[in-house]
């Protein structure tokens, strides 16, 4: 495949509620910081692709207005996915593979704050069989966690360790929403939120935006000293019905990881889009990550969970570490749907 790299990444600080800005205003700093960091404007971009969902914006065609944030005049080559920005990046990567364009802008955003997010997400479920029961997203994750515990894949202490480590790592992430140093014991002393999940096992509700600039070959090398090359990227889905899946594993992540070539080299860092603590442990197993891998140094989705953007942010976090020389090869993961239904895996690498 053609060499494509992440050459710039920007995100807005994750916040529980961005009330004073509309989506266009909230998005603009992410888009223009990402472009500005590599001294580019929209005129330097060959293809633009975004990810968002109308259900969080509360209006149909919501992405139509947010396109204005990039200033698409004269008219641009552009597309939009009703998916996390990680999939928008996938479309842009495919587009650049065709060899006609050298640069792409990817952006994504959402405000979950105006609604009741766990209730809104019930609208993703089968509208005939499951949706009418309104099972919220946290309860579904709790079902998965209980199945995982029952299968003796791990313990509540293991989950607590993920939660504690994630918030501690987030202390080094100025964009994180939840960051603190709290022991596993303190975490376990909390009562259940929705058993077996404690509040600390669950992600925050976050408003925010993120953007990435991709560039091919020499364009990437000209723009940054150490581009984060995309060595592999793949995504797979499973049925939404929980009864049709083994919830204690992530079969789709395993396939995507194999296609993306995760095992083709050592992994220094992994950013996993695991909104719930037990999901990180399911993903580590699916990705075959060793204990020596630095997982979610940003704090991950447990520290900031911008719907439609948390997946792209994982890619950006890995890319930043490669570009900074802190890591040579990393894995970024994005998820969508209840209980890790759909998963995307990206392998990024710096020049040796």
């Amino acid at each position: 495949m053609r060499d494509i790299a992440v050459i710039s990444f920007a995100q807005t600080p994750a916040r529980r509620k961005v009330a004073e800005l509309n989506e266009v205003e909230m998005l603009m700093p992410a888009v223009h910081t990402a472009l500005g960091q590599v001294d580019m404007t929209i005129d330097d971009i060959g293809f633009t692709c975004s990810g968002s969902t109308d259900y969080l914006a509360g209006v149909g065609f919501s992405f139509v207005s947010t396109l204005d944030s990039v200033g698409p005049w004269p008219p641009i080559q552009e597309s939009h996915v009703e998916m996390d920005g990680a999939w928008a990046l996938y479309e842009a990567w495919v587009k650049l593979q065709l060899g006609e364009l050298d640069t792409a802008l990817v952006y994504c955003y959402s405000k979950s704050s105006p609604g009741d997010l766990p209730m809104v997400l019930t609208r993703q479920l089968d509208p005939i069989l499951t949706g009418p029961l309104w099972p919220d997203s946290v309860s579904l994750a709790a079902v998965q966690a209980q199945a995982w515990l029952d299968a003796e894949k791990g313990t509540e202490e293991d989950m607590a360790a993920v939660a504690a480590r994630s918030r501690r790592s987030a202390l080094d992430n100025p964009n994180a929403q939840l960051a603190w140093d709290r022991s596993v014991e303190d975490h376990l002393a909390d009562g259940y939120h929705i058993a077996p999940l404690r509040k600390g096992d669950c992600p925050p509700i976050t408003d925010g935006a993120a953007a990435i600039v991709l560039a091919a070959g020499d364009v990437a090398r000209d723009k940054v000293e150490r581009p984060a090359w995309i060595r592999g990227i793949d995504h797979r889905i499973e049925p939404i019905h929980l009864g049709l899946r083994d919830l204690t594993v992530s079969a789709s992540t395993r396939i995507a990881a194999s296609k993306a070539g995760v095992a083709d080299g050592p992994v220094d860092v992994a950013e996993l889009h695991a909104p719930f603590s037990h999901q990180e442990l399911i993903l580590r197993e699916a990705l075959d990550l060793g204990d020596d891998v630095s997982v979610n140094p940003s704090g991950g989705a447990l520290a900031a969970n911008v719907m439609m953007a948390a997946g792209l942010i994982r890619i950006g976090e890995v890319a930043n570490r490669i570009t900074a020389g802190e890591a040579n090869r990393g894995v970024a993961h994005a998820t969508s749907g209840p209980c890790l239904q759909q998963n995307l895996v990206t392998v990024l690498e710096g020049d040796a």
């Binding site: 396109l67 641009i76 552009e78 597309s79 009703e82 065709l98 797979r236 049925p239 939404i240 969508s336």
Partner: protein, 389 residues
């Protein structure tokens, strides 16, 4: 690196109607997808990836419905990708799917687009607030009526041209068994006498609200050649293009959008088309309100600005004209919004495959499919041909 060849090797669509109460959303997409797979002589297992498109999720009341449709679309363990680019989405979805093959990632991609508009009230769902604009319009017709009025004023077109388009498209639709509207008794006078909804758009010059789905199986060069060897003509994709404009921009001309013109120029260049009127055998374009036929004829380079209406009036765009437009009956006969763009792309492919039945244009070798969306700001086009590029 570079672009691999890709062709349409299977086409399927549902019977479109106001309410498909006999099927769920899953049943609707499976009806189209099963027909496309049967046409391609493939099964679900042959598909490498699925790309699905639809317009706003609020139309059916399911958020990101591809998640629950994954199972019905046989996507378990496969990549499933969801596109949404407003009204152009059916076209964009097919283009995104074709690029997966052009990039050499997959060999066989199933792409599906649908809308089940009976689940909600589409007219009000399309009555969106426009920033800094008084909320005076109801439905897409209310939004586009001023653009049409402006077109009539600028071009000096006589008032009856819109009605001629409506009559032609509704009569073409009678030849298409899948079309939603079958109005055998329609006449010029019945159109003229129909209610004025959004002046100058009459009821009979307006698209319906439909339930429906369309599906295409796209194949690599190897897959398409194997189909051809068995006597199943592929529709080779000779060019694809997309362009987008902002919502708020003083430079925009919504009667003759620059984005549409750039999209057409790009796709013609890829397909080696230098004189669109001469080089293209037939066109399926996105005409939700009758007057968009002459407007798009100009925007897509088939007529000079101000002259599109003359082609309609002369009968050039009739099924037996020199540039048949909307042979299937078009959006004026069938409008499941999310699928409408793909239906245009599919009809273009059917024409060059020679499988368009009673609405077949004799000897069609090169056809254009066109879709637009938003406030005339999102454009998707492809050129398909019977000959391998």
């Amino acid at each position: 690196m570079g672009k691999d060849r890709v062709a349409v090797v299977g086409i399927g669509q549902t019977k479109h109607q106001a309410t498909r109460g006999d099927v769920s959303m899953a049943g609707l997409v499976r009806e189209a997808a099963s027909r496309a797979l049967a046409d391609a002589q493939m099964t679900w297992a042959d598909v490498d990836a699925v790309v699905i498109g639809k317009a706003p999720d609020f139309f059916e009341g399911v958020m990101m419905p591809e998640l629950f449709l994954a199972d019905a679309l046989g996507a378990t363990g496969k990549p499933l990708f969801r596109v949404h680019t407003a009204g152009s989405v059916g076209g964009s979805t097919a283009i995104v799917a074709s690029q997966l093959i052009q990039a050499g990632i997959h060999e066989r991609v199933l792409t599906v687009a649908f809308e089940k508009q009976s689940e909600s009230e589409a007219m009000w769902a399309l009555s969106l607030p426009i920033p800094f604009t008084p909320p005076l319009h109801a439905g897409a017709g209310g939004y586009f009526a001023p653009h049409i009025r402006s077109y009539i004023r600028r071009s000096g077109s006589p008032d009856h041209v819109g009605m001629l388009v409506a009559l032609k498209d509704r009569q073409n639709g009678l030849k298409n068994p899948y079309a939603h509207l079958h109005e055998p008794d329609i006449t010029f006078d019945s159109i003229k006498d129909s209610m004025m909804l959004w002046d100058p758009i009459r009821y009979a010059e307006t698209c319906p609200s439909s339930d429906g789905a369309c599906a295409l199986v796209l194949g690599s060069e190897k897959v398409a050649e194997a189909a051809a060897a068995e006597g199943r003509q592929p529709a080779w994709i000779k060019g694809t293009a997309m362009r987008s404009e902002p919502t708020l921009s003083a430079e925009r001309d919504t009667v003759l959008p620059l984005g549409g013109a750039l999209c057409a120029a790009d796709v013609y260049k890829q397909a080696g088309i230098t004189n669109p009127r001469k080089d293209v055998d037939c066109v399926e374009m996105y005409v939700p309100f009758s007057w968009f036929e002459p407007m798009w004829l100009e925007n897509l380079g088939f007529a000079e600005p101000g002259d599109g209406w003359k082609m309609t009036e002369e009968g050039a765009t009739a099924l037996d004209g020199d540039l048949p437009v909307n042979m299937s009956g078009g959006v004026l006969c069938t409008n499941p919004i999310g699928a409408s763009g793909m239906l245009r792309f599919a009809e273009a492919a059917m024409q060059v495959r020679g499988t368009a039945g009673d609405h077949q244009v004799d000897g069609a070798r090169t056809a254009v499919g066109h879709a637009y969306g938003g406030g005339s700001q999102f454009f998707a086009m492809w050129v398909v041909g019977a000959d391998k590029p």
